[in-house]
């Protein structure tokens, strides 16, 4: 199946986000943190969402799980999951879907776990919210999921502070696996860990995914982290999707200038040492996004047209399945970005 410019036509999708708009109401007017995002996730697929702080990636994730709270609100669009629109679904039915079919793993396991209750107690709470299981069955299932993430079930009696950071994060993942959901959304689950623990957790998530067949939506600011693990990659900038495509293609031949700059911002551990520039400037204020392309003030190849014409997400003819929000990829009258920029306005 080839993804098209309108992913919403993807009928086999497990999750189908259509034109989702999420705004934060502020005294100075609404701030749109998620501007018309389309995203499909197929069963068993691993989709990475990357972008800088404030690009709307966590907002999108909260919108998918319907966990947003005021002042954030959904201003438009649909989140179709297993054929149901989560945006309009009554709270009772939403509650049934959550955890059983759609689980969430949050960024900071230290804050997500209750410090004064044991791991086992917290697993029990989650189970009893959905099922009337016997104590014995609850214990069995809790022990089973802990073993899945390579934690000794003896830790069901442990408190969160008795576990290391990596173990806490794995316990959170075990908790999400209690009902073997169809989709797990993860918000930077490895950001508090150091590289070795981070790599080991990523490998474990991938192994579990292959074993149990759930789909993953993985949000991170570290593009290199998902490079080996995700099937498709969604790059967000200033509330918009700027590039979406198969992970390998996006890494090997990034289409959007932002994706390219993001990739060039990583110092490499191998190969020749080259001076890097990072991305000059800062992400824009979403209350007052730049006219034209939102990346234009920081873009290394900006042209005059970029400052006035807002690009859409265009499918790339050269690489199937890739979409890019850059005027250079406009099907009619594409601009030429190969010439040096006329003037870079970023400081």
């Amino acid at each position: 199946m080839t993804p098209t410019s309108r992913p919403s036509e993807d009928t086999a999708a497990l999750l189908d986000v259509r034109d989702l708009r999420i705004v934060y109401d502020s005294p100075r007017g609404p701030v749109e943190a998620c501007s018309g995002v389309n995203l499909t996730v197929r069963p068993g697929e691993f989709v990475g969402i990357v972008g800088e702080s404030g690009c709307g990636k966590s907002t999108l994730l909260f919108g998918i799980a319907q966990l947003h709270t005021a002042p954030a609100r959904i201003a438009g669009g649909e989140v179709l999951f297993l054929g149901k629109d989560l945006v309009t679904l009554p709270p009772k039915e939403l509650g049934d879907l959550r955890w059983r079919n759609l689980a969430v793993v949050m960024q900071s396991a230290m804050n997500a776990l209750n410090p004064v209750r044991t791991i086992g107690d917290q697993f029990e709470d989650a189970i009893l919210a959905h099922e009337k299981w016997t104590d014995e069955r609850i214990r069995e299932r809790s022990a089973e999921v802990l073993r899945l993430v390579a934690i000794d079930p003896v830790h069901l009696g442990s408190y969160p502070h008795q576990l290391s950071g990596g173990m806490r994060q794995r316990a959170m993942i075990a908790m999400a696996l209690l009902f073997t959901p169809d989709l797990i959304v993860m918000d930077e689950p490895t950001s508090a860990l150091d590289v070795v623990a981070q790599r080991s957790l990523m490998v474990q998530i991938k192994e579990l995914q292959q074993k149990l067949g759930f789909a993953v939506v993985f949000v991170t600011h570290d593009m290199s982290l998902v490079s080996h693990f995700s099937d498709r990659l969604l790059v967000m900038y200033a509330g918009q999707v700027v590039e979406f495509g198969p992970t390998r293609t996006v890494f090997d031949t990034p289409s959007h200038p932002y994706s390219r700059s993001l990739l060039d911002a990583f110092p490499s551990i191998r190969g020749p040492k080259v001076p890097l520039l990072g991305i000059p400037g800062d992400p824009p204020n979403l209350a007052d996004p730049p006219a034209g392309c939102r990346f234009n003030p920081r873009c290394p190849v900006v042209q005059d047209a970029c400052r006035s014409e807002a690009p859409e997400l265009y499918p790339l003819e050269a690489s199937p399945g890739v979409q890019s929000r850059c005027l250079a990829h406009r099907p009619t009258d594409p601009i030429d970005i190969s010439s040096p920029a006329t003037e870079v306005t970023a400081s």
Binding site: R199, L263, P267, L276, G278, I279
Partner: protein, 330 residues
């Protein structure tokens, strides 16, 4: 040339166990010999709990050493007497903190912190000179235009800009050595490079040395001249950055390098060592602290603590297997 700063068998132990008369000791830092030369960026690399932040605090005199010695410009720190000498050391060796959101006072403009430092550490400056110096350090860390930036409050700055203010504050003291404890780990990947470039610029243009503490070995490679790898309170490997990373000797350094996510490299298979946890070094017995995770461990590792031995000039590793004593003797 004598080093700018040198530590000799520096150790710091903490009492743990909660009980009043507990005698269990956590060995956060054990027998560390560190040298930092002038105009040099030394990266101290290790995972959480390896003792790298304790090292920074020992050098900043937040903690007193349990044992060992710190010498700065040939002078033993334990010999410092009186407010004046301590103040001088603090202005020579300031610290930049990890969290740019917590380390600036939110109710003052960013000029406030820099000016206070200038008043305290360089009282000879007139108000006008102070202002000039303020503008100079803000511009030196790449914040433009400085006249406008100094009028802002921390909430008006992004994380990367705030962290640059952290470096500007340190720079205002005319430091010899900046202790930077994970200065970029809270920042977005896309703006980390900008700050690393600022560090390199401070070394090249202001002649400052920097101790760069990080768990990100790729950024250490990018900016540092020498690398020291810490594990469980010990330095397990040290050497010039390029030679150490091109040919890592200690199994832990090799593990660290293989864990770095690199989109340009193929995925390497994880080992059991990668799944294990770093040790809590409480009342340690002799032996290599990495042996439980080490794929190369042999009998002697359980009984004898390996010491740093040179493998090639200036590149040393503490490992019985890859840097055995016979080679060092030869």
């Amino acid at each position: 040339m004598s080093p700018l700063l040198e530590t000799k068998d520096l150790s710091r132990h903490f009492k743990v166990g909660g009980k009043l008369f507990s005698h269990r000791l956590l060995h956060a830092v054990d027998d560390v010999n560190l040298t930092i030369n002038e105009r040099e960026i030394v990266a101290l690399v290790g995972e959480s709990g390896s003792g790298k932040s304790t090292m920074a605090r020992l050098l900043a005199q937040v903690y007193k050493p349990t044992a060992g010695q710190i010498t700065f410009q040939g002078k033993d720190l334990a010999q410092l007497r009186g407010r004046k000498q301590h103040l001088q050391y603090r202005s020579d060796v300031p610290m930049v903190f990890q969290d740019p959101f917590a380390s600036l006072n939110p109710v003052y403009k960013v000029s406030h912190g820099i000016k206070r430092g200038l008043k305290l550490h360089r009282p000879e400056l007139s108000a006008q000179e102070r202002h000039q110096e303020l503008l100079r350090v803000v511009a030196a860390v790449g914040l433009n235009p400085p006249e406008e930036i100094i009028e802002r409050y921390p909430y008006e700055l992004s994380g990367g800009q705030r962290q640059r203010i952290g470096f500007a504050q340190a720079l205002a003291y005319r430091p010899k050595l900046i202790l930077a404890d994970e200065p970029v780990s809270m920042l977005d990947v896309s703006i980390r490079i900008g700050l690393l470039n600022v560090m390199a610029k401070l070394r090249d243009e202001e002649g400052v040395s920097i101790l760069y503490i990080t768990h990100d070995i790729a950024s250490a490679r990018y900016v540092s001249d020498r690398v020291m790898v810490m594990y469980g309170g010990h330095v397990v490997e040290s050497g010039p950055t390029e030679s150490l990373l091109a040919d890592p000797q200690h199994p832990y350094t090799q593990l660290l390098l293989s864990a770095v996510p690199d989109p340009r490299a193929p995925l390497e298979v994880t080992t059991e060592a990668a799944k294990a946890e770093p040790p809590a070094v409480i009342d340690p017995k002799p032996g290599c602290r990495f042996r439980a995770r080490c794929p190369l461990a042999v009998d002697v590792c359980a009984h004898v603590t390996p010491v740093l031995r040179p493998v090639v000039p200036e590149h040393a590793a503490a490992c019985h297997v890859t840097a055995p004593a016979e080679v060092a003797a030869a």
